[in-house]
């Protein structure tokens, strides 16, 4: 019984959010689009001129571009795999009866509250450092050569750091979903003599699919623009081994101060993000019946 009156009211209520977001998106985007067609370097102002598609050509033919594209996907995919699988296992464990469950849960969610810059600094200096880090200490105590994490496995190191930060989020959502699982349903299946493995795959997994979708959606949004961790640890290297698209854009705009190419990169990143978004939204639409 939504009358025209309520509809109008609803529209009014939505408009501040919609208008603000629209402005927040369009104004800078329009400016970025304009800059992307300009020769515009912050370091030589006054020399701006029309560049046509040169900035785009330049950004897309950068040898680092394809590497960055792959790295972005690996980073997002890697973190999603670790957090969703790890989160599911952890949630299953935390759902079991045990002593001190509340405290364990506090321990598990703690990383979520840590600033990305702090976590990257701590991981880099106090854990992954191959001479003075704690990992190196353990390796040496075991008589193994310490791994040079950031030098030899830069992308993996970043994936691990980011996964550590996001694991609690995934665990919490999956745990909440798990706790809402109808226990009668499980008991019924138990009566039918279904093994615990088949119970898991036929009842628990489908139930968790929805929660996993949410985890993937929200995390992807944040993971696509990872930057602080790279800034603090590897600076995108060695070579381009840990350069992702946001970092490449960053390098153009704030290390080379080339606003033109940086803006072109920004637009390319927006287009890529939208492709991912469409893909994600399809999946969400299917699983979340909005």
């Amino acid at each position: 019984m939504s009358t025209t009156h309520t509809r109008n009211a609803a529209r009014t209520m939505m408009s501040p959010a919609v208008i603000l977001l629209l402005a927040w998106m369009l104004v800078p985007l329009a400016m970025t689009l304009w800059f992307s067609f300009q020769n515009y370097s912050l370091l030589s102002p006054g020399n701006e001129s029309w560049a046509g598609f040169n900035n785009y050509k330049y950004f897309l033919t950068d040898p680092a571009f394809s590497e960055a594209l792959v790295n972005t996907l690996l980073l997002v995919g890697g973190v999603l795999c670790i957090t969703v699988i790890g989160g599911t296992l952890l949630a299953l464990l935390l759902d079991q009866p045990m002593f001190g469950q509340g405290i364990v849960r506090l321990l598990v969610i703690a990383p979520f509250f840590v600033m990305p810059t702090v976590s990257a600094l701590v991981w880099k200096n106090m854990f992954m450092n191959p001479t003075n880090g704690l990992f190196a200490f353990f390796a040496k105590s075991l008589g193994v050569t310490p791994i040079d994490w950031l030098g030899h496995h830069p992308l993996l190191s970043i994936i691990l750091m980011v996964s550590w930060a996001w694991l609690p989020f995934a665990t919490l959502i999956l745990l909440t979903a798990l706790q809402s699982l109808d226990s009668e349903q499980i008991e019924a299946a138990e009566m039918d003599g279904a093994s615990s493995i088949s119970r898991f795959f036929h009842i628990v997994v489908p139930h968790l699919a929805r929660a996993a979708t949410v985890v993937i959606l929200i995390q992807t949004i944040f993971l696509l623009s990872i930057y602080a961790e790279i800034f603090v640890t590897t600076g995108g290297g060695p070579g381009n081994a840990s350069t992702n698209i946001p970092w490449l854009v960053y390098r153009q705009s704030l290390l080379s101060y080339d606003v033109g190419v940086g803006s072109a990169g920004g637009i390319v990143a927006v287009i890529l993000a939208n492709i991912v978004a469409i893909f994600l939204m399809r999946m969400v639409g299917k699983n979340l019946d909005l």
């Binding site: 209520m13 979520f112 106090m126 990143a269």
Partner: protein
């Protein structure tokens, strides 16, 4: 969950869960411990877990070097301000989407979320120029606004999914009683929605507290929050692990404590519609 579980099983679960929990928490614990060591001990070849000379020197040093209270207050103001402003705008929007859905609702929601996928570096220069022209550089108001915008899609989404779980019949009944829309929101909906709003608020405070791009780029001194504070300890000359740990502890402690105390409230609304 009243199923019988053997004691052995329970002990096994407990052992495993505690081990994993401590492993996950360990980096934070280690940071806190290191902050009480001397610089030489912090980098010792044989690191000590608890058995070292405890000292507060690092905290004293950090405090004398930086104006921690100001960074802290800025973080509080920016995190709370952006959250409250965001709620003010998001609650009506989410309410409208949840209770007066139209064909476009889903599209609008998805579009809102997709705005969050834009990499901030791509629009850095435009935003910087706009802020400069409007005198908002290094102002708390400017930062409150930016962080509110950055997190608005998440707030709307989270509230929407929560509101949607509220049965529509209750509203219908209230309407039958002749309640106006205002009193409907105030007396019927709000009490039911409070847990969701509280949870959204907590999540947003955490996200805003930890935001480390705009807060670093758009502030210098007057509005600089704790992310900026940390940046000044990131790799100074000489031995610095202990001082870095002290600064890190000071930067994360407030939100860690907040998160721990409000864990229940946070979790209750943190489902994003994942639970039917």
């Amino acid at each position: 969950m009243a199923r019988a579980v053997t004691l052995n099983r329970r002990l096994f679960n407990t052992g495993l869960a505690w081990t994993l929990g401590l492993l996950i928490f360990f980096p934070i614990l280690w940071t806190i411990l290191t902050s009480f060591k001397t610089e030489a001990e912090a980098i010792a070849l044989q690191p000590a877990l608890f058995d070292f000379e405890w000292t507060l020197a690092n905290y004293q040093e950090v405090n004398s070097r930086s104006n921690y209270p100001r960074f802290f207050m800025n973080s509080v103001i920016i995190a709370l301000g952006s959250t409250l402003l965001g709620l003010l705008i998001a609650v009506p929007a989410a309410w409208a989407m949840a209770f007066v859905p139209s064909k476009r609702t889903r599209g609008i929601l998805m579009w809102m979320l997709s705005t969050k996928m834009l990499p901030p570096v791509g629009v850095l220069v435009p935003i910087y120029l706009l802020f400069r022209d409007s005198g908002l550089l290094d102002s708390r108001i400017g930062l409150v606004f930016v962080l509110m915008m950055v997190n608005l899609p998440i707030i709307v989404w989270m509230l929407f999914t929560y509101f949607r779980e509220i049965p529509g019949e209750i509203l219908e009944a209230a309407r039958m009683d002749g309640a106006s829309m205002k009193s409907e929101i105030l007396y019927v909906l709000t009490p039911m929605a409070l847990p969701g709003i509280a949870s959204t608020m907590l999540l947003n405070v955490i996200l805003a507290w930890n935001e480390a791009f705009w807060t670093l780029v758009l502030t210098t001194t007057k509005a600089a929050p704790l992310t900026q504070f940390i940046a000044s300890y990131s790799s100074p000359e000489g031995l610095f692990y202990a001082k870095l740990s002290a600064a890190s502890t000071m930067a994360i402690a407030p939100v860690l404590i907040l998160g721990w105390f409000s864990q229940k409230q946070l979790v209750r609304g943190l489902t994003f519609g994942a639970v039917k």
